[in-house]
């Protein structure tokens, strides 16, 4: 196979799979709590700064994973209790509150680390020969980890007792409480889980992007586009939305440049909002 084509295909796979992990956290929280967490991208950013912090302490890269999870569990619990829970029945207020939170987190990180770009060393610097194309092994590993993570979570959601209970709460919150599902605790854990998923993405993506306080904005925007295109209803929608947004962006970026990639994605999102506002797989 043509090495350039192979490289492009791998790039698409990489973009789509890493994006899907970020959107999954956002979508699971929205599905269960009805809360669109506009600070979701900032949890990605915090994860990336955890990777940077670990590097400044001369610890191995993977030490950033427990650090980021710990930070986001503490932060997620506090945010859920103080901000999200009192506003459950008020979706618009939740948007404002989480948007405010995102600003607070950006400014907070900026106060500590400044506005400048930080870089995190890539843990695996070699590349692997894939069908004649020389592809960085870290990117390949990251795509594989992302695919495994999404597949594992989907499997868990469909098969596990907790997954079934989450689906029950989404379908009928009132009955869920009355059959004994601890709805409040489940919602709290799901929110924290979504934050942790974002932070994990942040850690893993940190070596491949400039780490700076605004990086979360890019993720929240793209995540929105994915949900607009895919629809809020299902995992199929989420994955296909990631496919369209991540795929189009990386293909257009490869043939023209990144600005055209962004523009195309934006146009697609606008067209969807205009012509097919419920996305490819609407909630039934």
């Amino acid at each position: 196979m043509d090495p350039i084509l192979t490289t492009n295909i791998l790039n698409v796979v990489y973009e789509v799979s890493t994006l899907a992990v970020v959107v999954l956290g956002l979508a699971v929280v929205f599905g269960l709590l009805g809360v669109m967490n506009l600070a979701h991208g900032e949890f990605v950013m915090i994860g990336a700064y955890c990777a940077f912090f670990v590097q400044t302490q001369n610890l191995p890269f993977l030490a950033a994973v427990p650090v980021a999870l710990l930070v986001c569990i503490v932060l997620g619990l506090a945010v859920e209790r103080i901000l999200v829970r009192p506003l459950y029945a008020r979706p618009f207020d939740t948007l404002l509150a989480t948007w405010g939170l995102s600003m607070l987190l950006r400014e907070g990180v900026e106060a500590v680390y400044g506005r400048g770009f930080k870089s995190v060393a890539v843990p695996l610097t070699d590349s692997i020969d894939v069908l004649g194309a020389d592809y960085p092994s870290y990117r390949l590993l990251l795509a594989a980890v992302s695919i495994a993570l999404v597949a594992g979570l989907v499997w868990w959601f469909v098969r596990s007792a907790t997954g079934r209970r989450i689906r029950a709460v989404v379908n009928n919150p009132e009955l869920a409480g009355s059959v004994g599902i601890p709805v409040t605790a489940l919602a709290r854990n799901t929110f924290v889980f979504g934050c942790c998923l974002a932070a994990l993405s942040g850690v893993l993506l940190a070596p491949l992007m400039p780490v700076q306080p605004m990086l979360g904005l890019d993720f929240i925007l793209k995540s929105f586009f994915v949900l607009v295109v895919g629809g809020l209803g299902s995992l199929v929608g989420l994955i296909s939305g990631s496919g369209v947004i991540g795929g189009v962006e990386s293909i257009v970026s490869a043939f023209f440049d990144r600005t055209y990639g962004y523009t195309t994605v934006l146009i697609i999102a606008i067209l969807f909002l205009w012509l097919r506002p419920n996305g490819l797989f609407p909630r039934t």
């Binding site: 079934r164 689906r167 379908n171 009955l175 869920a176 409480g177 009355s178 059959v179 601890p182 409040t184």
Partner: protein
């Protein structure tokens, strides 16, 4: 006489600032059934939602097993043995019939065996999603789920709605069994004959208030119907 298992006094509440139910009193002892009767829209379901913790009380008190229920979430009340089968959306439509029954229980379905034998229609539809059942079948599924639970108090909101007569009779048989086993029942019903067959006490509501309450044995269908304005 010992204190009733479940009692409520002066229960007042509704949606937001709107009051739907005013100063409703009632009690159910173990082994006893109390039926709440009334036309559509008089606040029977709102009363149930106030008693189960789905709506906050504006005033009044609910006591179960000697314990005040205020501030307890529905799942905490369930944990204490208060089992509720709601009128509207009684099952999880997106889960299969089997998943509806085993959501909180282990896969062992022994406790369902006698119920499933009585309502074979469910056995045939185990793998089907509950959303594809008819209204009456959903009520049966909800009833089976609630009746199989071990909690001491069963709150049923119109269990017979849309259910075929032969299955209503089977429900009545299980409810008599539950009473004999010492469970307390609080049942909202529109079906007078069914209600009078199981009830020991009756509460008739109109415009969110109790208009008649007493022992079922003292009431005729005619008296009740007169108070229900039907």
């Amino acid at each position: 006489m010992s204190a009733p298992l479940f009692s409520f006094a002066g229960v007042t509440g509704g949606y937001g600032a709107t009051t739907v139910v005013r100063a409703v009193d009632g009690e159910v002892a173990a082994g006893e059934a109390c039926c709440v009767l009334g036309r559509n829209g008089v606040g029977k379901t709102t009363l149930m939602r106030l008693l189960t913790g789905h709506l906050p009380l504006q005033s009044g008190a609910v006591t179960f097993g000697g314990r005040p229920m205020d501030g307890l979430a529905p799942d905490e009340r369930h944990g204490l043995g208060l089992i509720y089968c709601p009128q509207d959306r009684p099952v999880f439509d997106n889960l299969s019939v089997r998943e509806n029954l085993t959501l909180m229980a282990s896969a062992d379905a022994d406790r369902y065996a006698p119920l499933l034998a009585a309502f074979p229609i469910l056995e045939d539809r185990m793998a089907q999603s509950a959303g594809t059942l008819s209204g009456g079948e959903r009520k049966i599924l909800s009833f089976v789920r609630g009746a199989a639970e071990t909690g001491r108090l069963l709150l049923l909101d119109e269990p017979s709605e849309g259910v075929q007569q032969e299955n209503v009779e089977r429900m009545a048989a299980f409810l008599h069994e539950a009473k004999a086993a010492g469970r307390a029942l609080l049942i909202v019903e529109q079906n007078l004959a069914f209600a009078l067959e199981i009830a020991d006490r009756v509460i008739v509501m109109d415009h969110g208030e109790v208009v008649l309450a007493g022992n079922a044995a003292d009431m005729t269908e005619a008296t009740l119907a007169a108070h229900m304005h039907v």
